[in-house]
């Protein structure tokens, strides 16, 4: 279980403090598929980075399974069981897909055949990709799938996806929906997915709306029609525009 208490995060913007996350409190239950949505600039990605430890909060606490992780490094949190799929996956010259999956899984000697299963899971023909370098020759959609495969290989109690739909074409995303659908079925831990996509929100156990750095709405997919109707929901669907 992840518990966030009175979390705030401020940045210095041209000499003035800007509050990105405002006194945010939130609990994510175990084995749930939770979608976080809301307008751009509302603090969703910052919240994800605060949970992963990439950013440090100005104040507040983060607890993971009753351990205070607020002052823990990215590495320590990863070892405790938090995974984070980046919105913009990172390229590595020289490192191959197999290397990345092995590093992610923590099994340096993982057989290539096992690593291939994760690639197949995200709809990539494993044979064509397993020895590819993670460099500029891969498209945004391919990188995104490899990023998702790498966090699947980690299989941790908490996995955070930061806008998996960002930067990929609609056709690729149609297939990715199925990947998340399967994840939803075979859930082994909590999945927190930041998304603007109605089809993702539709398969979530819970939807959390984040705006102006705080939770403005929370509920099951029952709230989706209201969200889509309300003016605030225009931003939810801005990717369709």
């Amino acid at each position: 279980m992840l518990r966030i208490e009175n979390l705030s995060f401020m940045v210095d913007e041209e000499g003035t403090d800007k509050e990105i996350i405002r006194d945010l409190s939130l609990t994510l239950e175990d084995n749930k598929f939770i979608a976080v949505t809301g307008p751009n600039g509302g603090g969703k990605s910052t919240l994800a980075r605060l949970i992963a430890g990439i950013e440090k909060p100005t104040s507040g606490k983060i607890w993971f399974n009753d351990t205070d992780i607020t002052d823990m490094s990215v590495t320590e949190r990863a070892k405790l069981g938090i995974s984070f799929a980046f919105q913009t996956p990172v390229r590595f010259k020289g490192l191959q897909v197999l290397d990345l999956i092995r590093l992610a899984s923590g099994k340096r000697n993982m057989p290539a055949a096992d690593a291939c299963l994760y690639l197949s899971e995200v709809g990539l023909c494993a044979r064509d990709y397993i020895n590819r370098e993670i460099n500029a020759s891969l498209s945004g959609g391919e990188l995104k799938r490899i990023e998702i495969a790498s966090v699947l290989a980690r299989s941790t109690p908490l996995t955070i996806f930061d806008e998996p739909e960002a930067g990929i074409d609609l056709w690729s995303f149609q297939n990715l929906i199925q990947v998340f659908g399967r994840m939803r079925e075979t859930i082994q831990g909590t999945i927190m997915i930041i998304s603007h996509q109605e089809r993702i929100l539709n398969i979530a156990d819970e939807i959390i709306v984040l705006a102006n750095g705080t939770v403005t709405r929370r509920g099951t997919k029952e709230i989706l029609p209201e969200l889509l109707k309300e003016g605030a929901a225009a931003a939810v669907c801005d990717r369709f525009e």
Binding site: A52, I54, S73, V74, T75, A78, K79, I82, S83, F84, F86, P89, V90, F92, K93, G94, L95, Q96, D99, L103, A104, G106, S150, R154
Partner: protein, 307 residues
């Protein structure tokens, strides 16, 4: 043949050998020939006018290899060795060179290997050269290789050059002359650390129509080491040349990358790319989200880059 443990370790490092290899070979340990084998198609003979060997590969030789590793384990030894390869037409061969120095003494050890390749028509040659140094003595480990390649029509050569560890000073000079339809691919990997200094200079002459060259260098400079990469491509015919130098700079290291492309023919197409930069912070963070420490992440990124 007697191989002591230090020599064996260095042989493993530079040539991946645990014993004498199949096929032709010439082992040179501490300035002396330590073992040699010629085959029906590959004849190795000592030079009579200077230190070194001639390697004659008969036309049509296919799928054979030559290993010519050099080991220096005696502190203070300095040598210049000339190895000339004469490769007949229509060959398909692999050549493994490489030099390792173990210097635990106070005097400098130095090996200057001068390799010349005369590659026949339609040949396919793979050349691997790895340099390695070890030992905690004050004496420096110095390697100054010179490689000169003459490629006849429609020949192909692939060169893998690696110097990953322990060489204090190196000045590497590689020249290639490409005939009609010939193709050269070079992959260089270099890592320097401590106060090491490395200079690598390529001069590629695209002399024949249809010739092509691709020179790719990847290097990592750590601590207070210095590197200089000079790449010159001369387009003297309707040919294609590409060189790429990609470097990771760390700590207080210094890197200089000096490209030059010279077109002496209007149909020559020449491209140079050079980039120097630190490891991207996002790369380190990504691997930290897998549970690696910052140091482990950097090591993985560097190892991958130089793989």
């Amino acid at each position: 043949m007697n191989i002591d443990p230090i020599q064996l370790r260095i042989l493993q490092e530079v040539a991946g050998l645990h014993d004498t290899p199949d096929g032709a070979f010439n082992f040179r340990f501490d300035g002396k020939s330590a073992g040699r084998n010629s085959t029906e198609n590959i004849k190795i003979t000592s030079k009579t006018d200077k230190s070194g060997i001639d390697i004659h590969i008969a036309p049509g030789t296919k799928h054979e290899s030559v290993h010519i590793p050099v080991v220096l384990s005696e502190s203070g030894l300095k040598e210049a060795v000339y190895n000339d390869f004469f490769i007949g037409d229509d060959c398909d061969v692999t050549i493994v060179a490489g030099c390792g120095i173990s210097n635990c003494g106070g005097e400098d050890s130095q090996h200057d290997g001068i390799h010349t390749f005369h590659i026949g028509n339609r040949c396919k040659v793979r050349y691997y050269e790895k340099h390695y140094g070890e030992g905690d003595g004050m004496g420096k480990r110095i390697l100054n290789p010179v490689t000169e390649v003459f490629m006849a029509e429609d020949s192909y050569m692939e060169m893998e050059m690696a110097q990953i560890k322990g060489v204090d000073s190196t000045v590497r000079k590689s020249d290639a002359h490409l005939g009609q339809g010939s193709s050269l691919v070079v992959h260089e990997r270099l890592m320097t650390h401590g106060i090491q200094n490395a200079v690598s200079e390529y001069n590629v002459y695209l002399d024949g129509d249809g010739a092509s060259a691709n020179v790719v260098s990847r290097s990592v400079a750590r601590e207070e080491s210095e590197q200089t990469f000079i790449s010159r491509l001369y387009g003297n015919a309707q040919a294609h040349g590409h060189s790429e130098c990609d470097s990771i700079i760390m700590d207080d290291a210094r890197i200089s990358s000096i490209p030059e492309v010279v077109a002496n023919c209007p149909d020559a197409e020449l491209i140079h790319e050079a980039a120097i930069g630190k490891i991207a912070g996002e790369q380190i963070i990504k691997l930290m989200t897998f549970g690696l420490t910052q140091e482990e992440a950097e090591e993985q990124i560097v190892n991958g880059f130089l793989k």
